[in-house]
């Protein structure tokens, strides 16, 4: 072995010739990715034309020709967007009609929520279990009193809630409530008890078969009929219940997919260990099943977040409805696109952030059972 290597090492190979300039570097990249064939070149040219057609006007509108200074409609003289409108209305976009003196309550809850979420997301921080418990049980109760009033705070009726604040309230209540309900429904649909299975299947398919709007309509016109005389729910509570139930039916189907993907051996092993139904589900099946369906769950939650805009139709002033009302008010007529752009930006940041986090979570929790 060593002799052979030695003789071979006498022949010094010539140094590698450098690759042709057309194959490496910028030119190589361009040739490979943009101009590899005639049809590809045509596509590239079309693409560049499309970008040239779309991007410069949008940039002009958003930045270069836009108006940033001033405090009324008259300040907007340029041909671009009138961001003055957003600047003047920003507090309404954020808080709706919440009384200005009481807005510190929303800010306080918002700061606590951000700290909790950051704590749960950043991996190195300890005591995750306690923070999670605080975020799920005491914190919502605290929020209720902070937002609604009581305990010495002034009352703020829910009709005054609005803007991004209301959107976040509806979506977080929806997310927190729909996850456990959805998991229970999924377990019920796979239960061995026929009555439970039938009820859960019927409920899930019923909800999934109809648009959210009809359910919201049902809540606003039929719920008063369903309840005994004198018992009323306010509009917001109805919307909350409907949004949570609607999302839970979709979550149930996602979770069912995960439950079905768990090999039968896991169920059998759990019962062989003498675990009861609930223990085997909580300790063996659900941790594996939920991990499998993270992408589906997050997609459903993003869907829920976007669907909260539908409360506009039953007259709640969520972020979109605030924008819609603002752009139809006489002082700011014709500024629809500014309002939609701003609202869209907020929604996009939230949804895109959630989807990125789910990809990260999927990679982190991946225990290598998936095929690569």
């Amino acid at each position: 072995m060593s002799a052979a290597t030695e003789t071979a090492s006498h022949h010094q190979p010539l140094p590698d010739r450098s690759p042709p300039v057309t194959e490496v570097g910028l030119i190589g990249w361009l040739r490979k990715n943009l101009f590899s064939s005639i049809s590809n070149t045509i596509l590239t040219v079309l693409g560049i034309y499309l970008i040239w057609l779309v991007v410069p006007p949008i940039l002009d509108w958003v930045i270069f020709d836009a108006n940033f200074v001033g405090d009324s409609r008259d300040a907007c003289t340029g041909s671009g967007a009138c961001w003055v409108f957003i600047k003047v209305r920003i507090s309404q976009f954020m808080y709706g009609f919440y009384p200005a003196d009481e807005r510190w309550r929303i800010n306080l809850a918002g700061i606590i929520a951000v700290i909790c979420i950051a704590w749960l997301v950043i991996e190195r921080l300890p005591y995750k279990r306690y923070v999670g418990f605080f975020a799920l049980v005491p914190f919502p109760i605290l929020c209720y009193f902070l937002f609604r009033g009581g305990l010495g705070l002034a009352d703020v009726e829910t009709a005054k809630w609005g803007g991004l604040f209301l959107t976040l309230v509806i979506s977080s209540v929806g997310i927190v409530a729909s996850l456990p309900i959805g998991i229970l429904l999924a377990l019920g649909r796979r239960s061995e008890l026929p009555v439970i299975r039938l009820l859960c299947t019927g409920f899930i398919e019923m909800i999934r078969g109809v648009p959210l709007i009809t359910l919201l309509f049902m809540a606003s016109v039929m719920l008063p009929l369903f309840l005994p005389e004198g018992v009323t729910f306010n509009k917001l509570a109805r919307a909350l219940v409907i949004v949570a139930l609607f999302a839970s039916a979709y979550i149930a189907e996602v979770v069912r997919g995960g439950l079905q993907a768990i090999p039968k051996g896991q169920y059998e092993a759990a019962s062989a260990m003498g675990l009861t139904y609930w223990k085997s589900m909580l300790l063996i099946i659900l941790p594996q099943a939920l991990k499998l369906v993270i992408p589906g769950l997050v997609n459903t939650l993003i869907g829920l977040f976007k669907d909260t805009t539908l409360v506009l139709i039953i007259g709640l002033f969520d972020l979109l409805n605030i924008a819609q009302t603002a752009v139809t008010s006489t002082a700011w007529l014709g500024l629809a696109n500014e309002g939609y752009f701003f609202v869209g930006l907020i929604f996009w940041i939230f949804c895109f952030g959630m989807s990125r986090y789910s990809i990260y979570l999927e990679d982190k929790l991946d225990t290598g059972h998936r095929k690569r």
Partner: protein
């Protein structure tokens, strides 16, 4: 667990209370009774409330005259004297029309964008990615409002309407198109069109069988195109072009002649197609990625180019992964078309659960009919797609 403990301590089997089967029955009976009690509670309250408010019940209102008019009524004659039942059908047809057109266009857009996102062309792939990530993460209702109030309302007024090719006019009241007028003898053209489609299908089947048997190919595409396009065109020319158009012309405060596609319809259609198209693109992309790369390499080794590789090797296999989630996107589009109510396109929810409900006050019946209709549509679409899915599913030998 209780059962296991009993066995372990050697007692003689489970007692009545801890027996699993007894418990299961008791648990189910209790649930059933609770649900039944809840339903009875609701029904009782509803009947009391209805009586107290003096709201009629039953489905008799469906035959009463509606007394309102609808701007969009395809295929159906609807006027103020038509019944509420007729209003239901107008809404249903409007929902079905926009869903059907939306499904076709969204599928085309979605497939194109899904393939584009995987394109070897960096620029095209990036454009598709930006489109998908932008549109998917914005609420549909926002997009509908944007198209309606942001884009279409900003179009020029009717007096300055934009002339388009072929005599069409675009302004903020809609897209005005020339309306075809069929003269006698025109019926030959559509009849021949249908006949040539049928013939093409038959020829395609025959060509497929022959290729299976002998390996010889038959130019089905060109034959089909020749038949489907050529035959009606020849017939059209031979019968002396029995077709003319009325063009939209501005008269007074409105356009006369031609036909119009209303901005409500366009805004809803654009929003639904772009939104659902982005989701379909992602489904298509994941379906294509699910096909093993070895298949592409094998196709390359056989000398197939990119087009035939996609069409003959990748897409048929990817379809098996794509079809189930595609079905739920179609269902979503149909259900999402109910957002029409926000911009005043009179779909099922807008007309029936909106106007009719407000006029009659019969919330229970109206909402019940609306929900049942949507359930039925959902069921029909999923039945059809299940049948299709079964047809393309992998036949294991």
């Amino acid at each position: 667990m209780a059962v296991a403990e009993h066995r372990a301590t050697g007692s003689s089997g489970p007692s009545f209370l801890t027996d699993e089967r007894t418990r299961a029955i008791v648990f189910q009976v209790v649930t059933a009774v609770l649900v039944a009690a809840f339903l009875i509670f609701i029904v009782y309250n509803t009947s009391v409330n209805l009586e107290k408010r003096g709201i009629a019940s039953g489905f008799g209102f469906l035959t009463e005259p509606a007394g309102f008019d609808v701007a969009f009524a395809y295929f159906l004659d609807f006027s103020a004297t038509s019944s509420y039942g007729m209003a239901f059908f107008v809404g249903l047809v409007n929902t079905l029309v926009i869903s059907a057109i939306g499904i076709v266009l969204a599928t085309i857009l979605g497939f194109a964008m899904g393939v584009a996102r995987l394109s070897p062309n960096w620029l095209i792939a990036k454009i598709a990615t930006v489109y998908i990530e932008l549109v998917r993460n914005l609420p549909l209702l926002l997009q509908i409002l944007f198209w309606y109030f942001g884009v279409l309302a900003a179009l020029p007024k009717i007096r300055q309407s934009l002339p388009l090719i072929g005599g069409a006019e675009l302004n903020n009241r809609g897209l005005y198109l020339p309306q075809p007028i069929y003269e006698s003898g025109f019926w030959v053209v559509p009849v021949l069109f249908v006949i040539s489609i049928v013939v093409t299908v038959v020829v395609a089947r025959w060509a497929n069988r022959r290729q299976m048997r002998t390996g010889q190919r038959f130019p089905v595409l060109w034959t089909g195109l020749g038949l489907i396009v050529g035959l009606p065109v020849v017939a059209f020319l031979v019968t002396g072009m029995p077709l003319s158009f009325t063009y939209p012309v501005l008269k007074g405060f409105n356009m006369q002649g031609g036909m119009v596609i209303r901005p409500e319809f366009m805004a809803l259609l654009f929003a639904l197609v772009f939104y659902t198209g982005a989701f379909i693109a992602e489904i298509v992309r994941s379906g294509i990625l699910a096909v093993s790369h070895g298949q592409t390499e094998a196709a390359n080794a056989l000398g197939l180019r990119r087009g035939p590789t996609l069409r003959l090797i990748i897409i048929p296999q990817a379809l098996r992964v794509i079809v189930p989630p595609l079905t739920s996107e179609f269902l979503n589009l149909t259900k999402n078309s109910s957002l029409a109510v926000a911009i005043g396109y009179p779909d099922l929810v807008g007309i029936f659960a909106g106007t009719v409900l407000n006029q009659t006050g019969q919330a229970v019946e109206v909402i019940f009919i609306t929900m049942m209709t949507y359930l039925a549509i959902s069921l029909l679409i999923s039945l059809y797609m299940n049948w299709y899915n079964k047809r393309i599913a992998l036949v294991e030998r």
